[in-house]
Assembly symmetry: C2
């Protein structure tokens, strides 16, 4: 197989972990006889420094011409004072929008070998296997107006939660399709007792459910969900929700595994290319220190193999290698028990490669 992969390392630890994913993909290519070529593009703070914009046209072009995209992370304190429209994060948001990446898939699973690094009791997280499907190109993130206003002579501000019915429909439908291949349960999360958008969301979920008689739908209010996510995470199979709720709940769900450094994600559009990125950010405090956990990025690459390229066996191999390394007790500092020995980013990458 011949595939071209756009690599956007971005800022901070993004660079360090992206390197890991590329090396692992190269190793997979060699072992299984695939040709993966990598084309690098700039995004985020690095791009602001060079081009004055967090997402240059060349990068968008590069992504559109590729079969899939790997992204590290964007942002850092260096760009905290730049005007709002040229923040590093705007590059990521614009890329999601330009490529129409409407669904962000965030799987959370239980790693027996990491049970001790979660703040939750083992009984609570054991066997957790949840997939959060977050709407990614609508809602408060993109609604207009989003600006300062004057109201009766008072300083005020407005953001807008806007959704078209079709935007809700497609992401909810995708969640049902994914549930079909899993445990056949969809939990739709909203705030229907307060928001009109949530009432529409709930109606559409009911409408979609009619086409999936084999999948069980239930509704949960977002405040309750934030509690259930840690109180009783095993009750969830596929979770689907709008952009902002999904942002909050999926970061919260990272405590189930014990570290953001373990969690991959895939962002899907209707016709591709898809984008794969770890859930964690650019982690300025540890950037450049060879300390970051590269596994979220490596597991994102595994998702790419499976979802974009249909390479199930290859994806399984990467995941198996990651598990083998974890079972051997090898840890970056984020997943090591306090005070116990831990390894570096580059060493962790080498360890995974070695057992691949």
């Amino acid at each position: 197989m011949n595939k071209r992969i756009a690599v956007l390392p971005g800022d901070g630890i993004g660079k360090e972990v992206a390197k890991g994913a590329v090396e692992i993909l190269q190793a997979v290519g060699e072992r299984f006889g695939h040709q993966f070529s990598f084309a690098y593009g700039k995004i985020g703070g690095e791009s602001i420094d060079e081009f004055g914009t967090p997402l240059p046209d060349e990068t968008i072009q590069l992504c559109k011409e590729s079969d899939a995209i790997l992204l590290g992370a964007v942002g850092g304190p260096k760009w905290d004072q730049t005007p709002a429209h040229i923040r590093p994060e705007k590059g990521l948001l614009k890329l999601r929008k330009d490529l129409n990446l409407y669904a962000n898939l965030r799987p959370t699973m239980y790693y027996e070998s990491l049970a001790d690094s979660s703040p939750l009791r083992k009984e609570v997280i054991q066997e957790v296997d949840m997939l959060i499907v977050r709407e990614l190109t609508g809602g408060l993130y993109f609604g207009k107006p989003s600006e300062r206003v004057q109201h009766n002579g008072e300083d005020a501000v407005v953001d807008t939660l806007y959704y078209e019915k079709a935007e809700m429909y497609r992401v909810i439908k995708l969640a049902f399709e994914l549930a079909r291949d899993r445990n056949k349960r969809v939990t739709s999360i909203d705030k229907a007792n307060v928001l009109e958008s949530s009432r529409m969301w709930r109606e559409i979920a009911e409408e979609v459910a009619k086409d999936f008689p084999d999948v069980k739908l239930d509704h949960m209010l977002v405040d309750n969900a934030a509690m259930q996510m840690v109180m009783n995470p095993k009750r969830f199979d596929v979770v689907v929700t709008e952009n902002m709720f999904g942002d909050i709940l999926s970061d919260e769900a990272s405590v189930l595994t014990g570290s953001l450094g373990m969690l991959p994600s895939a962002s899907l559009s209707e016709n591709g290319p898809f984008l794969y990125e770890p859930i964690h950010g650019s982690a300025p405090d540890i950037a450049g220190k060879n300390m970051a956990n590269p596994l979220a990025m490596i597991l994102s690459a595994a998702m790419m193999l499976r979802v974009s390229f249909g390479l199930e066996e290859e994806a399984n191999e990467v995941e198996r290698a990651v598990n083998q390394v974890l079972d051997a007790g090898i840890r970056t500092s984020d997943i090591a028990s306090f005070g116990s020995p831990h390894t570096s980013t580059s060493k962790m990458i080498d360890e995974v490669k070695a057992v691949l």
Copy 2:
């Protein structure tokens, strides 16, 4: 002391727990020589059934003429099909707005005797003492428009996150004032990398901080906060945030204590009367079964004694009595270990009264 208290039991377990708070307040009155009189009003589903509206004018009037308000809970499946504007929850939202209850205080603390009922490890929750201050009368809850719209011939929907500067200012200032009497740290939570309203919020927090040189302010993104709340809850002292984020995070924080059934709240306005309610809802599944945990409501009454009436000693006594009962191993089912014996709502009320 002579005080008139409006009691709005509402729906479901609201009635059962409100009864408990009233009995405890009566006992406190007798013991300390205060005259508490109770005036009952209707709100929520019960009020819809009787008056066709979730908040009749008489109830608003009653509240305005009282020194403080006790509220049970509103809502239930019976009213799920009523039109959006006459839902039980609308009664509560309207009451908050009409009485200008702009700040909702939600303390979360560690109960040694309940450590086993939390899904979190004891090391994580030990000594947690956090106060969430949630803005309660603005943001997505009240912004207009909040309606279905047509856009280029497509069905769409819009909700509005609107804040005036003064609304942000007063609640953030209150958080700093409260921090002064605690550990002198305020964590302000927003989504400043995406929302214009959050950028304004952050600016105002910085502005307020200048008047409180003795209090340390830090900012945290809401997604990160949802993680830190369970990963490292001890890092928080006072947390302040806007309405929707506060709704989500404060329900999440209930896992630290192990049950929503333990958590009280106070809602403050500029000139009173203040409203006291448990964080939990009407819990239709256990309503009428004499199973609900009355402690959140009883602890809300303790907050009333302290905050509205300045009766510090009396408030401490109620809290001490609750702790004594818990230390004696008496439990309603929500805080009992699985399969172990538990008591009823009315018995729990009696137990607290007995040690008062």
